[in-house]
């Protein structure tokens, strides 16, 4: 039996998970159109590599990674690209982002799928494969999985996160119940890539069926993975907290789990890793829970890009539904509209009504009861952070380690004054982020300005030097004029020399046809010469102003 550890704080909200676990996962029907956002992962958005009008096959890459922290995006079915344009996405800002619109042709034709033996691949080839196949963490943060295979020190423990601590969400639970064998195969590949000593699959003890299914799959595969039932406490599914519970190690602030020899993957990510290698299938679908104020809450296997309202329609939202939440009720976001596409990070959509989630009563002043301190899993001082955020004292908030806040909402959950604490922390975090970006921009502007001034100064100096050189040259020319001929003089001299040479040549030349002439010819020549002389004479008389004709 493994000794488990505890993390500070945590809460026990009503789980409401049983709502959506009665029915098995069902494949959502092929929608009429798919809108696939190019930013589905942490980091830079993918670059589109198809154009409008292209026919694509299922699993064909439509977006390539842009930079280090990025991933690929694939066509979830075969069809025609009708637009690559801005479309509203699931984001609290309600701002649009670049999306590819795909009209399915209904044939669902796969691109050629090529399975590879992962043992034959090096770790970097394996990473490249995951990057090309768009594998990202499916727990909610959508961090590119290939980057999580990097580690500086040896990874002792590989943890598989099946905790799923948020209320309402059951997609990982159902996935473990129904596809445990595939998950275990994925874990095998991840362990191979990380060369981890031990594998621990952490599942909260409110999911006995999932634990049983996973244990059975591990047994069937004859592997030594430990399937551990961890106590149900929110936010026990946060990677850092699951690591603490299972290993007793704490990930230091600003460090990665691999820095302490641990790595953590979501169970659904393990399954998609298996599909990428064993089946040659990129990440184009996922399990999503549709629950809350709906007639038939259940889990769907839906294609990425399916509109959330289509999914909700499959479960029939009740008439008093007035908003939709993507993710869980604790950390999820209220969607600007249900007409947004599902992305790789969409684990749950909750139809919400005022009856189900009553609006929070008006906030009262903080009475510093410190109940938030007691439940904060990051061991922060939420009441102080609230004060600093409210008064825009961001420097102090940073000193109080605001960056370590995981925005789990436990503090707001217990606050007797109903203060929306997490909203304050999010506000402060984005202000801090903006200020640091501004600081960087200001530093760059300063540098550029200083360089410009330096350049202008240098140019001025160079000009002055040139001018001084020219002046010095002309002054020396003026003083040394008698001894050395100036440029014009030498040129004139050359011209004169050339004239002299030409004259000498003309004198030296003799007409070759004047030797040995017959008397008739000589007489003829004499006559011509006489005529010439006469004409010359006449011409000289006629034009006194004219220059005399030179006849040689």
């Amino acid at each position: 039996m493994r000794t488990l550890h505890r993390f500070h704080g945590g809460i026990h909200p009503a789980s409401h998970k049983a709502l959506s676990t009665h029915q098995s996962i069902v494949r959502a029907p092929l929608p009429n159109s798919l809108v696939i956002p190019l930013r589905q992962h942490a980091g830079e958005a993918a670059k589109p590599c198809v154009s409008t009008g292209d026919h694509v096959l299922k699993g064909q890459r439509i977006g390539t990674p842009n930079g280090m922290l990025s991933s690929s995006v694939h066509a979830p079915t075969s069809g025609t690209i009708t637009a690559i344009a801005l479309h509203q996405i699931a984001h609290p800002s309600a701002l649009p982002d670049l999306c590819v619109t795909l009209i399915p042709d209904g044939k669902d034709t796969w691109i050629e799928r090529e399975a590879v033996d992962f043992r034959a691949l090096s770790v970097s080839e394996l990473q490249q494969r995951l990057r090309d196949f768009g594998i990202v963490g499916l727990g909610g943060a959508a961090f590119p999985s290939d980057l999580k295979l990097r580690h500086r020190i040896k990874v002792d423990t590989l943890i598989l996160n099946g905790a799923e601590c948020e209320p309402y969400i059951t997609c990982d639970d159902m996935l473990m119940r129904e596809r445990a064998n595939e998950i275990v195969r994925g874990i095998f590949i991840l362990r191979h890539a990380l060369e981890a000593d031990e594998v621990v699959i952490g599942i909260e003890d409110n999911k006995p069926e999932a634990i049983a299914a996973m244990r059975q799959a591990v047994c069937a595969a004859q592997l030594d993975y430990a399937v551990v039932a961890v106590p149900t406490i929110y936010p026990g599914g946060s990677a850092k907290h699951l690591i603490k519970v299972i290993t007793g190690l704490e990930v230091p602030s600003g460090k990665l789990p691999t820095d302490i020899g641990v790595q953590c993957f979501n169970v659904a990510t393990a399954l998609s890793v298996k599909r990428a290698l064993d089946d040659g299938e990129p990440l184009i679908s996922r399990i999503i829970t549709v629950t809350g104020n709906v007639e038939q809450p259940r889990n769907y296997e839906a294609l990425i890009g399916t509109t959330l309202s289509d999914l909700v329609a499959l479960s029939t939202a009740k008439s008093d539904t007035n908003r939709y939440i993507m993710g869980g009720p604790m950390m999820g976001m209220v969607l600007p509209s249900a007409n947004v596409p599902m992305v790789k990070a969409s684990n749950c959509v909750i139809a919400a009504s005022d009856a189900l989630f009553p609006p929070a009563p008006p906030a009262l002043p903080c009475i510093r009861c410190t109940r938030c301190v007691q439940v904060c899993p990051a061991e922060l001082q939420p009441q102080d952070l609230y004060w600093f955020a409210k008064s825009n004292n961001f420097g102090k908030a940073q000193e109080w380690s605001l960056a370590d806040c995981i925005e789990c909402g436990a503090c707001a959950y217990v606050c007797p004054s109903h203060i929306p604490l997490v909203q304050y922390y999010r506000y402060a975090k984005s202000e801090i982020r903006e200020r640091s970006a501004e600081k960087l921009a200001a530093d760059r502007a300063r540098e550029r300005h200083e360089y410009r001034q330096f350049r202008i100064e240098r140019e001025k100096q160079e000009k002055a030097e040139k001018l001084a050189q020219r002046e010095a040259a002309s002054r020396s020319a003026a003083t040394a004029a008698p001894s050395t001929p100036s440029v014009d003089d030498t040129q004139q001299m050359r011209i004169n020399e050339a004239i002299e040479r030409a004259k000498a040549q003309a004198l030296a030349a003799h007409p070759k046809n004047t030797d040995s002439l017959t008397p008739e010819q000589q007489a003829e020549i004499a006559a011509i010469e006489a005529r010439r002389a006469k004409i010359l004479e006449l011409a000289t008389d006629a034009g006194a102003d004219d220059e005399p004709h030179k006849i040689s």
């Binding site: 996405i89 609290p92 008006p362 502007a445």
Partner: protein
């Protein structure tokens, strides 16, 4: 009595030598306060303060020649920061010096005649182009100082406000209803 006097003289001479050496060895180049003030200023180099750049303004503040409320791009927060740094009273913006929304220059490339006047005016070399060639602004380097607007002979430069994008979207300060007192 004499011994004590000698001891005092010797001590004074020794300490004088130490102080004199330190003054030369550990001499600080420039005023460190100027650097600190310059770090607070937004580096737009716009000259709205009446000085030819952020550094000269910082120098003027350090000398006590300039007020701390002359920098509109720094905003109200900038004044507060300067007041905190210098230990002086906060002063609101006076007259028509009011902060504007962040904007970057945009050159209408159809109208641009390629005169290079804006390139010469840009304090951070954020405009590229050559004589009789079209010019364009490197938006990521533009500080929004508006110094390129005045020299343009064909008025082809505008200053559109920077729109909020998904990548730099910010959570807003929470606003919620106060309880109604009956």
């Amino acid at each position: 009595m004499i011994t004590a006097l000698w001891v005092m003289i010797a001590l004074a001479a020794l300490l004088g030598v130490v102080l004199g050496f330190s003054a030369i060895r550990f001499k600080i180049e420039g005023n460190p306060l100027v650097e600190k003030i310059d770090a607070v200023l937004p580096q737009t180099q716009c000259g709205q303060c009446g000085y030819p750049g952020c550094k000269p303004y910082a120098e003027a503040i350090a000398k006590g020649e300039a007020d701390i409320n002359l920098c509109p791009p720094g905003g109200d927060e900038g004044i507060h920061k300067l007041a905190d740094l210098l230990g002086v009273e906060y002063k609101p913006f006076g007259g028509d010096a009011m902060p504007k929304a962040k904007a970057v220059a945009f050159i209408d490339e159809q109208t641009c005649i390629g005169c290079t006047l804006c390139i010469q005016a840009c304090p951070v070399d954020a405009i590229v182009g050559a004589a009789k060639q079209m010019h364009t602004v490197i938006a990521s380097e533009c500080t929004g100082c508006e110094l390129c607007l005045a020299p343009c002979p064909v008025d082809c430069i505008s200053m559109p406000a920077v729109e909020e994008r998904l990548t730099d979207w910010k959570w807003k300060h929470p606003v919620y209803a106060l309880r109604k007192i009956p």
